[in-house]
């Protein structure tokens, strides 16, 4: 078959919602884009364990501690599914991790913000997981099979996390004056970074067209962001709190909420590596990797010894 035929077959599968699987022919650009996106999604899950892990030891009740531990454990599991899905596209986990640590591969910028109070846990669950879910629901229908299937598993758990985050804020919102203030303060600090999670404006987004055509991406940045705003404006009322945007206003004509302009300077700065915690997050991951080297080497050495022993035992038995 000619390349042209292969491309046609490939595009027809996509148009007909037939999943692309690891053994299928795919354009190199499709493989690369998926690999980048899936591995960076995996990195995000792993790095995302850090701002939340920061509050495990200080969780204010045993129940909250258990919920948080379970959430962070789920995120590690998500990272695992995603690394496995990405590996089907031809890169080893070791290489992906090296790319993360060298700065070559990115992860979601939202995790470059510090968690400063307990209420940040609820805000992250409500807003950050909320934004992630919008992206992810879309990804459950992404064209690459392993990615779509990983996303289906992940989405189930993320919805649960988001509800628990919101519930945690609800409790604060009905609590003491200090707790209410803590809740509002966390929302104030996490709102705009959450909006930034949807990426640049469509007009400035480079990857979009091809990604839409190949159904790697199924809705635009602005579409998802608008959906998120509309949802949160309603939800924040249940908390009796406000979103830190004086320009939020229902627009009857559009049927959506108008909202203020994102600080794109801040967005690009954080993406570039200048956020409050970029250095700390990567330092932590590199440190874990470096300090874990002897453990991985020992495990490999032991496994090798077991193989040799088993081979010997086979010979002896023969």
């Amino acid at each position: 078959m000619s390349v042209h035929d292969l491309e046609n077959t490939f595009q027809r599968k996509i148009d007909e919602e037939v999943k692309i699987e690891p053994k299928d022919w795919m354009p190199e650009a499709y493989r690369k884009t998926n690999l980048r996106q899936i591995s960076q999604h995996a990195h995000s899950e792993i790095v995302g364990m850090l701002p939340e892990g920061n509050w495990i030891s200080r969780a204010p009740s045993l129940k909250r501690k258990a919920i948080l531990l379970a959430k962070v454990q789920d995120e590690a599991g998500h990272g695992l599914y995603l690394y496995c899905a990405a590996e089907t596209l031809g890169m080893s986990r070791e290489q992906m991790i090296d790319d993360l640590h060298s700065g070559k591969a990115k992860y979601s910028s939202i995790f470059n913000y510090p968690t400063l109070t307990w209420a940040d846990m609820g805000a992250i669950g409500w807003l950050v997981d909320g934004a992630a879910i919008l992206n992810q629901v879309m990804l459950c229908r992404t064209s690459y099979g392993p990615y779509a299937r990983a996303m289906v598993r992940i989405c189930k758990e993320e919805s649960f996390h988001q509800r628990q985050g919101f519930e945690s804020l609800l409790v604060l919102s009905k609590g003491t004056p200090e707790q209410k203030a803590m809740c509002q303060d966390a929302i104030n600090r996490w709102w705009w970074p959450s909006l930034m999670m949807f990426g640049p404006k469509d007009s400035e987004s480079t990857n979009s067209d091809q990604s839409m055509k190949w159904k790697i991406k199924r809705k635009t940045n602005d579409e998802l962001r608008q959906q998120f705003v509309d949802m949160c404006v309603e939800q924040v009322k249940l908390l009796g709190m406000t979103l830190p945007d004086p320009h939020l206003k229902w627009n009857e004509a559009r049927g959506h909420y108008d909202f203020g302009e994102i600080d794109w300077n801040e967005f690009w700065n954080v993406v570039k590596g200048n956020g409050p915690c970029n250095k700390q997050r990567l330092d932590a991951r590199r440190k874990a990797h470096e300090e874990g080297r002897w453990v991985r080497e020992a495990a490999a050495a032991h496994a090798e010894k077991q193989k040799i022993k088993a081979a010997k035992d086979n010979l002896a038995a023969a």
Binding site: I46, M49, I56, S57, L62, K63, A288
Partner: protein, 245 residues
Amino acid sequence: MTNSLINYTLHLADTTLILSQRNSEWCGHGPILEQDIAITNISLDLLGQARNFYQYAAALKNDGSTEDSLAYLRTEREFKNLLLVEQQNGDWGQTILRQYFFSQYQLLLFQQLQQHSDEQLAAIATKAIKETTYHVRWSSEWVIRLGDGTDESHNRMLHAIDELWRYCGELFEAADYETAMGIDLTSIKQTWTEKVTAVFDEAKLPVPQNVFMQSGGKKGVHTEQLGYILTELQYLQRTYPGAKW
């Protein structure tokens, strides 16, 4: 009797809580993603056990205590956890060795508690047997993997043994409330020693002899570690007394 039951239950609760707390420090910092998940899983299991014990102790005290008031509002001299579980994580070898020493003991203890006349303790123990069996398997496999891995991992395990062995004696030194509860630590010690010796043998690690054993945890006399654990654990409840979370 009830005082002993309460104290014993608190000892079980404090021990599992503090070990859970220590293990959870690894979250996001483990040597391999799969092991990050595993240690966090163990942390969760232990926390679940702690909550069961605290809830029972609170019910027994019947004075308004809750699982949270017991965990968050008592001070160092009131905590009855084993000294072993408050020790620092050290490296991965020290952490999995601590886990193995403890879980091997805990499995034997829970097997005994399953038969105890106190139905609630028996029920909690029964519920925890399956996960504890896994904890023993997971940690003993790591002891072997690291003891008989590379020279470096072997040396690190020797160092870990040197750090932790001295806290293993306390596992088998009965506090008054344990005696009153009829816990037979002598038979547990014997089996524990056999099991540990077998694992160390396979791990090519030496079983220490004639090491002076430290104790005091069961009676609230701790090492200098516990105080710091509590400043983090209890901070929010201390700062916002009476708040609900």
